[in-house]
Assembly symmetry: C2
DNA sequence: TTTAGGATTGTGAGCGTTCACAAAAATGTG
DNA sequence: CACATTTTTGTGAACGCTCACAATCCTAAA
């Protein structure tokens, strides 16, 4: 009942009649071990229930078998505290953890204040303490050159999510522009000729790229400037509702709206309802986020689904690869998806 | 540009003109260090930007500065893969990570197959590898005696979430029964006399406790058996909708429904709509989960909000305390909340 | 002044791995 | 069969910290 003595590599070595180094080779799938010996060692490991101690591994060799995922403290806490939840983080955990698990890795989350003067210091502390094999940077950290340089300097591989300019690092992103074009095209094909895009924040790179996609697709469809308007929201419900109400009440209102996130899409649904406009009969709506609650809106929202989980999984995979020698670099575009639910249809005549 | 040499405790010792042990004492807030010396060391730490290496600390002493949070693999993956998200996990991360951060700890998530024969083996592997200072067990793992014993044997403190029988461990829970009573009372006070509780799964302890609360509250209000029915759902939309439709179409249908989770509450809203019953005019609905999407249902759901984040934060806090010597035991009830939104009102006449 | 006793500081050892290299065994070559 | 190669295995040392204990410094009582 008293704490059993820990099984160490030495115990296994003894049991298998070899040296610790040979056992180490087996654990690390190293070459140059006779099949017979390998088998004997595997058996001993199994029998003794040996599991390598991560801290010791980290001390001895270089690897920590740990990937660090960094999020913006302010945005993350805001979401949580407002009861809005954090589907983004949830997705990250899903993609990251399941991928890490496959390789015997662990995922650790940390928050860092984006843009703060001491952001590099904060990151520096975390990596000095944890010494992860790789770091996943999410927006807006992905764009922070100071952080990237710091990681470079320390020789820690990093993956940048949502960063599409090739940078000699790992850049993993979805095609925001293309997704906006796809959503727009879907609407155009349905017959819409007066569309509005409600942008989140002009300062937010992805918003910009989506607006571009929207404009480019409408232009390609031969829709005039007046038929393709862009409204500035701020990602939130009430502001969006306020901005939207006059628009939907005007005589030449749009017949389709693309919202930069779910909350603004919900606001759209809400305002439409108040204005007596039926969705999708009188107005089509597409959102650009697809959080889980979306399925239960009335009607369920058609939305572009961001492949967050897959992006993080990809990041982890590449980072883990790079920890075993390969140079970590390259651009990876992860496919998005337009999930058709019930808020799009042909425009009213 | 080439990887800077790591700053170790030895460097600090040298810079401050003391031995490593004295620096160690300062880091660990140990007693018996002259204020002047302490200051000198603190200054050196600051100047050199020293951050202790976690792995080395773990190797040297006992502590790993790491808390492990365990979830059920199947349920968790199911939620994720179905695109349902995992608000529970999200909340855990919020509560756990922010609390851990306060104490210089880190939170690591792992999945384990609940009920599987080798669940203890799975857990055993993770703790042998990570050697966390404490483990947070969530339902249904909280009830798994095999896991708890294993942890005991290994001398690792554990906190059980949702486990209310005092067990000599850390038991952290909310008052499910009381919450159900509160929801029921709210409805009764509004004037309802025909209520239905849609239970998730009879095998699920919390479902049982809620049903109890529901029945006890209706009984206390002098409502007959017929006026307080319990329906078995399975936590999912379609099944619930199917079960509910005949009920809501019957002549003596309930005027209020309490659903064991949001999805079933949404199903209720959906069926009500199809039956031409207006909510809350013709039917009141309360949910027992309160995921973020709930705010955007039409109408927004009134719900019992589970204090998941606070439960996990409490668990982490106590576990961390126990890592610094204190014995980890005790029962902690975390208060829940009935969030009033727009799905409850007086019954139709 | 001496000295016990507490407060403060330092020293060697050890935690469980992997690394770099040395040794031994197996294999091939002429 | 002797030798050069290659494959396989083993041996210190090191990683950065804390532990247990030893050494030193003070303080104050005798």
């Amino acid at each position: 009942m008293n704490a059993r003595k820990t099984v160490t590599i030495e115990d296994v070595a003894l049991a298998a009649g070899v040296s610790r180094q040979t056992v180490s080779r087996v654990i690390n799938r190293g070459p140059n071990v006779k099949p017979a010996v390998r088998e004997r060692i595997d058996a001993a490991i199994e029998r003794l229930g040996y599991v390598p101690n991560l801290s010791a591994r980290r001390m001895g060799g270089g690897k920590s078998f740990m990937i660090l995922a960094i999020n913006d403290r302010q945005r993350t806490l805001e979401n949580w505290e407002a009861g809005r939840g954090n589907d983004w983080v949830d997705q990250m955990l899903f993609g990251g953890m399941t991928e890490c698990e496959k390789h015997g890795y662990h995922l650790v989350f940390e928050l860092i204040d984006a843009g703060a003067d001491d952001a590099p210091r904060q990151l520096s502390r975390v990596i000095a303490s944890l010494r992860p094999d790789g770091v996943v940077l999410t927006p807006p950290h992905s764009d922070d050159q100071a952080l990237v340089s710091l990681l470079d300097e320390r020789g820690i591989a990093c993956a940048r999510i949502g960063q599409r300019e090739p940078s000699g690092h790992l850049d993993i992103f979805m095609d925001e522009r293309g997704a906006a074009m796809e959503a727009t095209r879907h609407l155009v094909e349905l017959g819409h000729r007066r569309l509005t895009f409600i942008a989140g924040s002009p300062g937010y790179g992805n918003s910009r790229r989506r607006v571009e996609g929207f404009q480019s697709a409408t232009r390609a469809a031969g829709i005039s400037k007046d038929g393709a308007t862009v409204l500035d929201g701020d990602f939130h419900f009430s502001t969006t509702a306020a901005v939207l109400e006059p628009l939907l009440k005007s005589r030449v209102r749009p017949t389709a709206i693309i919202a930069d996130n779910d909350e603004m899409a919900f606001a759209t649904l809400h305002v439409a309802d108040r204005c007596g406009i039926e969705v999708p009969r009188g107005l089509s709506v597409i959102s650009f986020e697809d959080t889980p609650g979306v399925r239960f809106s009335v009607p369920p929202l058609t939305a572009i689904r961001q492949p967050t989980a897959r992006m993080i999984a990809c990041a982890c995979e590449k980072l883990i690869e790079s920890a075993s020698g390969k140079r970590a670099a390259g651009s990876f575009e992860i496919p998005h998806e337009l999930i058709m639910r019930a808020t799009t249809g042909p425009p009213p005549r």
